[in-house]
Amino acid sequence: MSIDVVLQVLVGGILVGGLYALVAFGLSLIYGVVRILNFAHGTILAVTGVAASLIFARWQLSPVLIFILLVPSVFLLGAVFYRGLLHPLERRSPLEATIGTVLVTVGALLILSDVTAVLAGPTQRNIMLRSPVIEVGNIVISVTQLAILAAIVVMTLVIHAILKATWFGLAVRAVTQEPIAAELCGARSLQVKTLTFGVGSATVAIAAVLYVLTFPVDPYMGFGLTVKAFTIIVVGGIGNLPGALIVGVLLGVAEGLVGLFWGPEWSPAISVILLLLILVAFPAGIRWRRG
């Protein structure tokens, strides 16, 4: 097998890994603030991706317009989902609340997947853009892929800037680290949690529109993505953006290489295998140096 094939797989792995990182970061943002594991998180990508491809097939809107249409909608849906279905559970006893949130988020996963499959069909879809390709040696990269890569970098920087420089970002970090003190500083927890659920969901919607431009989506792919996002969070650290990016790209590349050498049916398992290996090798967790 030539080195070019491996390099080509690396490019794809970096791309999909960067998108995994965005998905994972949305999940960890939500978990850090709201302390709910949203099992439907990856399904948001599946549903948004299918919606994007349908909109494209029907009206030939530009991906930028689809982005502008879908991301705010998913933000709203995420906020309403939390406020309407998850927040009321916080009044229950801790055990009931935990089981309740698992039921609600797993239920949302099942219902969203099935409804999407009924409405759009269970088939794989994507958005095929005709775009020029750039050849570096024997590696072929399309302009679309480059644009996706650029978008991932820009989104990461934007999220970083929001967390670092805005009052909302400050509140998100404060609530994640010390919720009582954040409340004492005037951050209303319901408000911050609702906004965070919206922003975390919107992050997945962003990843979804980028994802469907090169990779196929289907209504039932969500849970696998959620598992990958869990892996990235556990290894990269909750609320750690650079950590998520590094682990996401590593995971994407590992999947690509495993698929290449052992066969694609092994790709989904690699995230779990990697997680187990890392948990065994670093039982106390990996401490990322902070920049």
């Binding site: 009052w167 400050l170 509140a171 970090r173 404060a174 680290q177 010390e178 009582i180 003190a181 954040a182 409340e183 004492l184 500083c185 005037g186 951050a187 209303r188 902070r290």
Partner: protein, 236 residues
């Protein structure tokens, strides 16, 4: 009277923490809240600051009865708590911790002035402002906690055990800073395990025992009260 707490009852789940707490604070006063461990001092401060709801009794602040108020509601009225154990945002820098103190709409506009005021009071924090709060010593962390509270522009400052884990030399420095803050017209309620130290700082004190107010008076009077001395001064 700035703050009138009457017959306050607070439950933590099924356990009753406060049975009958009374606490009066007039504007500009420094008041101590003393008693043994588990007497209900922190719960009293927490209830005033909006962390716990009252199951009975009343909290009247500046003539307004506070009912089921949350911490942000208390903060909006100028009631600010420096919580026990400091509760800093450890991974955030000193400056970000202080900035978080100015989070509420009322204080966002005066961020720079607020920071200058805190740095004037605790000059060491100016040099440490880019450092994560968890890397500071206990005393310096306490300065950040007090500084963060000042950023919220308190009218009534509630201090819960501000000297735990603070090196003796820094206790004096923090004490002096609190005196400066009080001289600026900020009303204070201080909870301190070290009752002698608390009574030297405050003008009046309220003594609580098992969730009930049992004694109240001028600190000078309490210090000479034989009954008080034998019951409480021996404890610390």
């Amino acid at each position: 009277m700035m703050l009138e707490v009457s017959h306050l009852v607070v439950d933590h789940g099924k356990l009753r923490a406060l049975w009958d707490v009374n606490l009066n604070v007039s504007e500009g006063q420094r008041v101590g809240l003393v008693g043994a461990n588990g007497a209900g001092k922190s719960t009293t401060l927490g209830a005033i600051a909006g962390l716990y709801s009252a199951a009975g009794g009343s909290i009247v602040y500046s003539g307004e009865q506070l009912v089921h108020h949350r911490a942000p509601d208390a903060l909006a009225r100028g009631i600010v708590l420096v919580p026990e154990g400091r509760r800093l945002f450890g991974e955030m820098t000193v400056r970000e911790n202080l900035r978080m103190g100015a989070y509420s709409g009322r204080t966002r506009g005066t961020l720079v002035e607020g920071l200058d005021k805190v740095f004037a009071l605790f000059p060491v924090l100016r040099d440490k402002q880019a450092q994560p709060a968890r890397e500071l010593s206990g005393g310096q962390q306490q300065m950040v906690a007090i500084g963060r509270a000042l950023m919220s522009q308190p009218k009534l400052l509630l201090l819960d055990e501000p000297f735990i884990g603070v090196a003796p030399i820094l206790v004096d420095e923090i004490m002096a800073a609190l005196a400066t803050i009080a001289a600026d017209g900020v009303t204070m309620v201080l909870v301190d395990q070290n009752i002698g130290r608390a009574l030297r700082f405050v003008e009046r004190a309220t003594v609580i025992q098992n969730g009930r107010t049992v004694l109240e008076g001028d600190s000078a009077t309490l210090l000479t009260d034989e009954n008080f001395a034998t019951t409480f001064m021996g404890l610390d």
